[in-house]
């Protein structure tokens, strides 16, 4: 995950790139206070963004030792991140519509939302919804909890695998190596599919590639991305990610309507996810 921001608007409103989440909160409140129609960023209301932020804080929603699963949706790291965002949202300094809804798209295109914390694949998406902002964006490392840290989490992602029944397993493996690790392969992944390769060879091969049109104001975008990617936290995904993410969105929405705490919502999501895993037959550690 990186923080994509409008470099032109940061200059216009006199904002320095926040290095810590405390800076981010302060900047958000100051900006919104001075300009009521402008927001520094959006409240994360989807599982994908939120888990990425939790991973940065050192938490993991799922972990396993090979036989049992442990679900950490209401772990201290997770609830800590939730409390931070709930407090910031309560001040009114955050945009509260979920991202990639028509309203959000319109406000990004109009320059009323200045940052989007998302994966390295974000430029293609922003281009799709706010085509008029080409050349006005730049990417910076995500703010950290402690100044000087460099850890980040993953938002979304894709994986490659070869099925047992494949008749060309060796060839498939060769192809996947080329696709992710070579200059042409990773270049195509980045330019055509907007996918940032996980292989380090692929990432360094992009250093000389052309940056996405949206990021034309930052010619060293891929070098910045590679440096950020070098500090990715270890991530484990569980067997029912969709269930947990849907429950997270619904519970967060319910809690926002009823005025409860985000941490309480996470506890509900935890029990729903554990129940679903137990029903499927997995062994979940209490």
């Amino acid at each position: 995950m990186m923080m994509f921001y409008r470099s032109d608007l940061f200059k216009k409103y006199g904002i320095a790139i926040p290095k810590t989440w405390a800076d981010y909160a302060a900047d958000a409140k100051k900006l919104h206070g001075a300009h009521p129609n402008v927001f520094l960023g959006t409240l994360p209301q989807d599982g994908g963004t939120f888990t990425g932020l939790v991973q940065q804080a050192g938490g993991n929603w799922w972990s396993t030792d090979g036989t049992k699963w442990t679900v950490g949706i209401d772990s201290p790291a997770s609830t800590g991140v939730a409390s931070y965002w709930q407090q910031l949202a309560a001040t009114g300094a955050l945009y509260t519509q979920p991202f990639l809804t028509p309203e959000w798209n319109k406000d990004v295109a109009a320059g009323n939302i200045l940052t989007w914390s998302a994966g390295v694949w974000a430029p293609g998406v922003i281009d799709g919804v706010a085509a008029g902002t080409t050349g006005k964006w730049a990417a910076a490392p995500l703010p950290q909890w402690t100044a000087g840290d460099a850890q980040v989490g993953l938002m979304g992602g894709s994986s490659v695998f070869i099925t047992k029944s494949s008749k060309h397993q060796a060839q498939a493996a060769q192809f996947l190596e080329w696709l992710n690790g070579s200059k042409e392969g990773s270049g195509d992944l980045a330019s055509i599919s907007n996918i940032y390769p996980a292989s380090i060879a692929g990432q360094s091969a992009l250093a000389t590639a052309k940056v996405p049109a949206l990021m034309s104001a930052q010619p060293n975008f891929y070098t910045v991305a590679a440096k950020v990617a070098a500090n990715t936290a270890t991530v484990t995904w569980g067997p029912d990610v969709q269930t947990a993410f849907a429950a997270f969105s619904d519970q967060l929405q319910a809690v926002q309507a009823s005025g409860g705490s985000f941490a309480g919502a996470l506890t509900t999501v935890q029990s729903l996810t554990v129940a679903d895993m137990t029903k499927s037959g997995f062994t979940v550690q209490k």
Binding site: T67, K68, P98, T101, P102, D240, T243, S249, K279, S280
Partner: protein, 321 residues
Amino acid sequence: MSTTASSVLPAVVKPTPPARRRSLRPRFAPWLFVTPALGLYVAFLLIPILYAVYLSFTELKVTGGGAFGTRKQVFVGFANYISSLTDPELLASLGRLAHFGIISVPLTLGLALTFALLLDLPRVRLVRFSRTAIFLPYAVPGVIATLLWGFLYLPSTSPFNYVSRALGFGDINFLGLPGLYGSLANIAIWGGVGFNMIVMYTALRSIPGDIHEAAQIDGANEWQIALRIKIPLMSPALVLTFLFSLIATLQAYGEPQTLKSLTSTISFTFFPLMKVYQDAFSNDDLAGAAATSVVLAIGTLAISLGALRLLQRRAFGEEEK
């Protein structure tokens, strides 16, 4: 022989063999004509329903121990039904559905009845234009209608909000609770009035004109004719449209699912069918979804039969006499 004699005699004499052939043909021809429809029904309705019922008694369970087992289909009896019936989310979604139905069904039928009665008045103008105009929304596919209304509801694109802001009243909250139920119902009403109106209008048209004239001679005005004569005589059509609306409401899916992309107020399990979809394709719990859909189908059947039995005596009783 004269032609009359020859035409009479054979008619009397022509007995058994052709009669046997004539009685065989009617037995095969209807079945032949029905076969394509029957085939489609069996293939696309009966077999999937039976398969869903079969699925609802099974479950995919992880076997082989460890954290990453493979899943095998096992027979679990009524476990899916029990967990479906005791799921608080299903009850909550039914409650929301009821809230939606209470608004949409009476308004749809009431408006349809009003329009049908108005169009049936003796000296009404622009009948064909009005009929087409009222029926047209029904022809708009559900998803398109929902997107259309969705953008009429969104604060930044809504003309209603534009006017209300210009008048100084601020934004009308179409897409937040509790206005959301009215907004969803509005989409259903807008699309449903046309069809129901046509059914009721057809029933009205089949009422013999003599009754109408007799009432007018007796001095009844149009109001009294409508209330005392037309509505009672078209009660089978009213019962029919009521049942259709009831069943359609219980299966409401397209409107909230499409509107979900425009507002975060609609959860993944807002209505029962959305919960079935969520279970089947998001939670990968096809068996549980099958059980929930069987429960919903049985419930719909029970409600329809109950409503029919209740209204039968009032609507159809006079005809049976």
